[in-house]
């Protein structure tokens, strides 16, 4: 069994235990997914405090709804799908209110002091949400075309063209 398959099986096992109210399994699942959910949410909502809120609510939904997970999708696809719905709901609420304040990331990092890193972050922040999101799923989450299409709810051909446009947009931002 490959390492990838083993991870999938462990995730399914953890979700099964979470469905049975196993708190230790939930804590382990949190360890595995907190950063992934946070980073994916950040690719959509752009602000760390909102991404944390999405991550928090996502994990609570996972705790409460684990019994409804049918196992016909990967656990990661199910969890990130929940995060995606919550992130866009939150974004809609935010946008109905005042303009989004300037983005502020929660954690300082020495790399952020490097001019190039700042430039790259700014370029990524300038991308439309759907471009940043697809790049995160493909490059960071390393999803297959089929997996990305499933979580985004769009045809595979649309994922390809969206990714193409996202790359062009990022290249343009980086050059500016």
């Amino acid at each position: 069994m490959s390492e990838h398959d083993q991870t999938l099986n462990e995730d399914l096992s953890l979700l099964d235990r979470v469905a049975g109210g196993d708190r230790a399994a939930f804590a382990t699942l949190y360890d595995r997914y907190a950063s992934r959910v946070f980073r994916f949410a950040l690719s959509i909502v752009r602000q760390a405090h909102l991404a944390e809120e999405v991550m928090q609510e996502t994990m609570i939904v996972v705790w409460k709804k684990a019994k409804t997970f049918r196992g016909n999708a990967k656990a990661s696809t199910w969890i990130l799908g929940i995060a995606r719905n919550l992130a866009f709901n939150l974004l809609r609420k935010e946008k109905r209110g005042e303009r989004l304040p300037e983005e502020k990331l929660a954690e300082s990092n020495p790399a952020k002091q490097v001019e190039m890193a700042v430039h790259v972050d700014r370029a990524l922040q300038m991308l439309p949400d759907h471009h940043r999101e697809v790049m995160h799923l493909v490059f960071y989450e390393e999803m297959t075309l089929r997996e990305a299409a499933a979580i985004l709810g769009i045809p595979e051909g649309t994922v390809k063209s969206r990714m193409h446009h996202a790359r062009k947009a990022l290249a343009k931002e980086l050059a500016s």
Partner: protein
């Protein structure tokens, strides 16, 4: 033979390796003789690194887990934890839907083994790594 357009559409997945072997072989064949697509491949690999570095540079703040525990209603009403990191015993009483289940674990050489509490099926309930509760 794949066209440049077909190759460029699939380059991101070729870069990450999350692509069917057959498609990867055909892309490799195309890249061997196409300078434009080679440049596209290099750019995609570079962007992948930028996206990954950017994502890796941020992490959720400490304390979110505590908020999740509270909001999910899985905070212990009472808890006892004796011993050290290497060897110890942890017992807790929580409140869940009007019930008050007791759960516990034995800590041996940094690993926790569940000794009380709800289990399902064949799951032994062995907890890998550190326990949060």
């Amino acid at each position: 033979m794949m066209t440049c357009e077909e190759v460029r559409d699939l380059i991101p997945w070729y870069v990450t390796g999350r692509i069917e072997v057959d498609s990867a072989k055909r892309i490799a064949d195309h890249l061997a003789g196409c300078a434009d697509c080679q440049a596209d491949f290099v750019e995609a690999a570079w962007m992948r690194r930028l996206v990954n570095d950017s994502a890796q540079s941020v992490a959720p703040a400490e304390g979110v887990w505590s908020r999740i525990e509270r909001k999910a209603g899985i905070v212990d009403l009472a808890r006892i934890d004796v011993g050290s990191f290497l060897i110890g015993l942890k017992l807790g009483i929580s409140a869940s839907s009007g019930r008050y289940p007791v759960h516990g674990s034995l800590r041996v050489l940094g690993h926790s083994v569940r000794i009380m509490g709800k289990r399902r099926g064949k799951e032994a309930g062995r907890v890998q790594g550190r326990e949060k509760a």
